[in-house]
């Protein structure tokens, strides 16, 4: 339908001395069987910045996000074409270990999904899977991850109790801590706060703001204010097409495209 203009990130990055590209997406298409959910999306997501994906429901935000850690492969009949490079490495290159890729690209899901293990074991799960068996190191890691998601003070006395005893907001922060524990470079978040009350949402947003210096974060959200608050860049998707990718401030104040304007002003979607 629309031939997307390449977002002009590079132009803007002249001002930023270290605007390196974390995710390089080239003409990605995703097919669910015969139907195409994502149409030729290309963009460059900058490292150590927060990028928000916005767009109406069913436009392919989650699908596109799942391409980045190849979780789409778990869905039968789902086919992904196009090139995705993460920090210069082609994630579809033959011989790529999925385990390594997913360790590098962490993911937080819409609905919190802690394992029915203890809080400690939840956070330690990833490191253990990747071969870290040293108790001391794990203890330290668990503590630092929980501190980073500001959960430590709330749970430090009951690390050995079930993660399912936590509240929804705490569970989601635990899931973020769990994702951080394997030390990823990229963090994908699919509507991480959509199931939470405003207070918990606020804490998650604060968390994202705190993490932005160390991680490349891609967040899917329906909440325009949230996108405006936490993200540096925003991509607007519509019916599987990338309509606009721009600096958040620009996109929300002076979008390049009519459609974007319509969407952010609530005229459709």
């Amino acid at each position: 339908m629309l031939e997307m203009t390449k977002p002009e990130v590079t132009r803007r990055s002249d001002a930023d001395e270290t605007m390196e590209t974390a995710l390089d997406v080239q003409g990605v298409e995703v097919w669910y069987g015969p139907s195409r959910a994502v149409h030729g999306v290309s963009m460059q997501l900058p490292a150590r910045r927060v990028t928000a994906f916005i767009g109406p429901s069913g436009c392919g935000k989650s699908t596109l996000l799942r391409c980045f850690n190849r979780m789409n492969e778990l869905i039968p009949d789902c086919r992904v074409t196009g090139g995705i490079h993460i920090h210069g490495r082609d994630i579809h290159a033959p011989g790529t270990a999925l385990e390594e890729l997913r360790r590098e690209v962490g993911m937080v899901f819409q609905k919190s999904n802690p394992f029915s293990k203890t809080i400690y074991d939840n956070v330690a799960y990833g490191p253990r899977v990747h071969g870290n068996k040293d108790r001391h190191a794990l203890d330290g890691l668990v503590e630092s991850c929980l501190k980073r998601v500001a959960l430590w003070d709330e749970v430090k006395d009951r690390l050995k109790s079930s993660a399912l005893d936590l509240s929804g907001g705490q569970q989601q922060r635990l899931c973020i801590a769990r994702a951080l524990a394997v030390d990823p470079r990229v963090l994908l978040m699919d509507e991480p706060a959509s199931a939470l009350d405003p207070r918990s949402t606020g804490r998650i947003e604060d968390l994202i703001t705190e993490l932005r210096d160390q991680y490349t974060i891609v967040i899917v959200t329906h909440n325009m204010q949230q996108a405006a608050r936490v993200s540096d860049f925003t991509a607007f998707l519509y019916e599987g097409h990338l309509v606009e990718f721009n600096e958040t401030q620009r996109l929300f104040t002076k979008p390049d495209h009519e459609q974007t304007n319509d969407y952010i002003t609530g005229r459709f979607g």
Binding site: L98, M107, Y125, G126, V129, A179, V182
Partner: protein, 736 residues
């Protein structure tokens, strides 16, 4: 207006509400009732089965005592007929008093003795022939007589009549007989299928006459060297083939009759400290009991030694406080009555050594009724009949769950052998071989089915492409629908012979396949471009190819192994080198067949449990960079642990209760041998095989019900444990 409309609405809502409440209550009620009736039905079955089995453990009792006559004279021997219509005793003057217990009155039948001749001792035949008497007199004479009774059924109340039948086979031997110069001091008499034996002694002379039953001819064989001719007690075995003598010094001498000749087969101490006073063989002729002047009893049993049979001490029987005066063997089983000088009477069961009954019953002579349901006690002043409830004397916890020294066995053992060729067979009711068999069958079935079913369930639920899962699941469910008779039938008639022929092949395949997989996995992992994700056909093809290769390897290796290592045949090699006997229908066959029946149950339930693990958890794990396998055993398996465990337990329950397969695929030999190459008899199969031939209310019948009860408890316990562990697993890992 408004007001009334509101009211109408209110009542309508109220009616609806009430109706809903009613329906709700009714549903609760019905569901509760349904659940309760199931529980009740199970309880009823339990109670019914338990009630049939219970009499086994109620022990034996002496019941009502009835004095039939105030006997005159000194009773020498007594008895009754099978209906207990008549009670008789023979006194020392040689007169048989027959008392009619039905119609009253009595009859005196005299023996043809000289006027002053007195009866001094009497011997009875054994078993059911105790009405055949040998009567010894103070003149050194022995008279054979039998109390013949018959029943008049035409009368309104049936009654019996008796006559005294005389037999004087010794007349023919008169010329041979060396007179005993004085009263007969001891007497023994028995007649079996082929041989009869009569022995008597007095004044230091022992006479033994043997009878050829076919010819009906008596002869007097020569006594072997060194036989003490003045024993303190003697007894003839009911089969008429052996004579036991006890000497004053407590020695036992056993004489065997063979082809009309006597030989001394054993001379050994009885194991008594005082002088023996009584000696008796039990039914079956393989147990012998002696009593002594201090009241002790010694029980001996014939066992199979390396060099023929020998007699060893059997379980101790409870001792008396006074000298033992009389030992009377029961007519049908290994029950023994012992009486002491103080009037105490005990009933023992010789096989188990258990004391069945203890009571003070003063009397001179004691006799069992032919059915073993009453005792006749003949005293100097009374002739009494005492009811005896002794239906299951052979049962004790030791008999059911321990090991006993049985007649003719080399060593004590836990044996199940409920019926035998002859009436004097010693029943063996150890449940251990049956329990063992059930557990063995279950173990083999689980060894084969649990790994296959669980790995299959894991593969299908976690790795297999959808099309494969969609084909495999119904196929396996059809497996469950296969009647177990068919599985058993195929296992016994097709698989068992095939396995016997191809044993080496099958065993080498079973060894080679896992080894090959272990070897290939690292190889594959090193191969560039391998994929660990579920990729459908290629992965499946890998498995199939591996299996095929393993089979080919086994097919190549098996003949080599047979030829080089086992000298042609593994089965022969096992038997000769390892002493392992290979039965065609063995535990391996059952393992495969029963495993085949259990696989669908475990698979289906485990697959369900694994498939129900929320995808979110799997995704969480995968997104953290865990491999598929890591995810399966760190996340999926723990989350599904309760369900998987329940699946295994249900499979276990099914294997324990399964009847047809174990019945048809094993030889049903009640062995206590863990070897995979021989058969076993499971509890369920044993019940199925034997219940139809067990006489109603008999010991076997009740023991089979008891076995059923055990089986019931087994499965009940397993299910309870399963529920308990399942619940705690669910608490630990569940809450999804």
């Amino acid at each position: 207006m408004r007001h009334s409309a509101n009211q109408a609405l209110g009542t309508r809502a109220g009616g609806l509400h009430r109706r809903r409440l009613l329906a709700d209550r009714l549903a609760t009620w019905l569901i509760g009732l349904g659940g309760l009736s199931v529980v009740l039905a199970i309880l009823l079955i339990f109670v019914f089965v338990g009630r049939v089995a219970l009499p086994l453990f109620q022990g034996s009792q002496l019941g009502r005592e009835q004095s039939v006559s105030a006997a005159s004279g000194t009773p020498m021997v007594s008895g009754t007929d099978s209906y207990q219509d008549l009670v008789w005793s023979l006194d020392s003057t040689g007169v048989l008093h027959v008392v009619d217990a039905v119609r009253g009155g009595s009859q005196d039948l005299p023996l043809p003795l000289d006027s002053l001749e007195r009866v001094v001792c009497v011997a009875q035949e054994g078993g059911l022939r105790t009405d055949h008497l040998a009567v010894g007199t103070d003149r050194g004479r022995v008279v054979l007589a039998s109390v013949r009774t018959w029943r008049i059924l035409e009368a309104a109340t049936p009654f019996s009549q008796a006559e005294l039948e005389l037999e004087d086979p010794l007349a023919a031997l008169d010329s041979l007989l060396e007179e005993i110069p004085g009263p007969v001091e001891g007497l023994a008499f028995a007649r079996g299928e082929s041989a009869g034996l009569l022995a008597w002694h007095g004044k230091g002379r022992l006479q033994v006459a043997v009878e050829d039953r076919e010819m009906g001819q008596w002869s007097l064989p020569v006594l072997p060297e060194g036989v003490d001719e003045s024993p303190v007690a003697l007894a003839a075995a009911p089969n008429g083939e052996r004579l036991a003598l006890a000497t004053g010094s407590g020695q036992l001498l056993l004489l065997q009759v063979e082809d009309g000749a006597l030989s001394l087969v054993a001379r050994q101490p009885l194991g008594l400290s005082a002088s023996p006073t009584a000696l008796a063989f039990l039914v079956g002729s393989k147990r012998l009991v002696a009593g002594d002047a201090t009241g002790h009893l010694a029980s001996l049993v014939e066992v199979q030694g390396e060099a023929g049979s020998r007699w060893i001490a059997a379980p101790l029987l409870a001792a008396h406080a006074a000298p033992v005066t009389r030992l009377v063997a029961g007519p049908r089983d290994r029950t023994l009555l012992s009486a002491d000088a103080g009037g105490g009477v005990k009933l023992h069961y010789a096989t188990t050594g258990r004391t069945l009954v203890e009571k003070s019953l003063p009397g001179r002579h004691f006799a069992f009724s032919p059915r073993g349901d009453a005792l006749v006690v003949a005293g100097r002043d009374s002739l009494r009949r005492v009811e005896l409830r002794n239906a299951h004397p052979e049962i004790s916890w030791r008999a059911l769950f321990g090991s006993l020294q049985y007649e003719g066995y080399a060593a004590p053992g836990a044996v199940w052998q409920s019926t035998g060729g002859s009436d004097d067979f010693e029943p063996k009711f150890s449940l251990l071989p049956l329990i063992f068999g059930t557990l063995k069958g279950t173990l083999f079935a689980l060894l084969i089915s649990v790994p296959l079913a669980l790995l299959g369930a894991i593969y299908i639920s976690q790795f297999a492409p959808t099309w494969l899962a969609r084909t495999v699941k119904p196929a396996i469910e059809i497996m469950a629908a296969l009647p177990s008779v068919i599985i058993g039938f195929l296992a016994g008639l097709v698989f068992a012979p095939w396995l016997e022929e191809k044993l080496t092949l099958v065993l080498s395949f079973v060894v080679i396949l896992p080894l090959l997989i272990l070897f290939m996995v690292p190889v594959w992992q090193r191969m560039p471009g391998h994929k660990l994700g579920p990729k459908g056909l290629p992965q499946l093809a890998q498995g199939l190819v591996l299996t095929l290769i393993a089979f080919l390897l086994a097919w190549l290796v098996a003949p080599l192994l047979d030829a080089r290592l086992f000298g042609g045949s593994l089965i022969q090699w096992l038997q000769e080198r390892a002493g392992v006997v290979y039965d065609q229908r063995n535990s391996l066959v059952v393992g495969f067949a029963l495993g085949f029946a259990v696989i669908p149950i475990i698979f289906t339930m485990a697959e369900d449990a694994l498939g129900n693990v929320p995808e979110a958890l799997v995704n969480a794990s995968l997104a953290l960079g865990a491999s598929r396998w890591t995810t399966v055993y760190r996340v999926v398996l723990p989350a599904a642990a309760a369900g998987v465990f329940a699946a295994v337990m249900i499979g276990l329950g099914r294997a324990i209760g399964e009847t047809m397969i174990v019945l048809m695929a094993t030889g049903n030999t009640p062995l206590l041998d863990p070897s995979p190459f021989n058969g076993f008899r499971a509890m369920s199969a044993c019940i199925a095989v034997e219940i139809s031939e067990a006489p109603l209310g008999g010991t076997l019948y009740r023991v089979l019900f008891f076995t059923a009860l055990l089986l019931f408890l087994f499965t009940f316990a397993i299910n309870s444990v399963a529920a308990f562990i399942g619940e705690s697993l669910r608490k630990r890992h569940g809450r999804l």
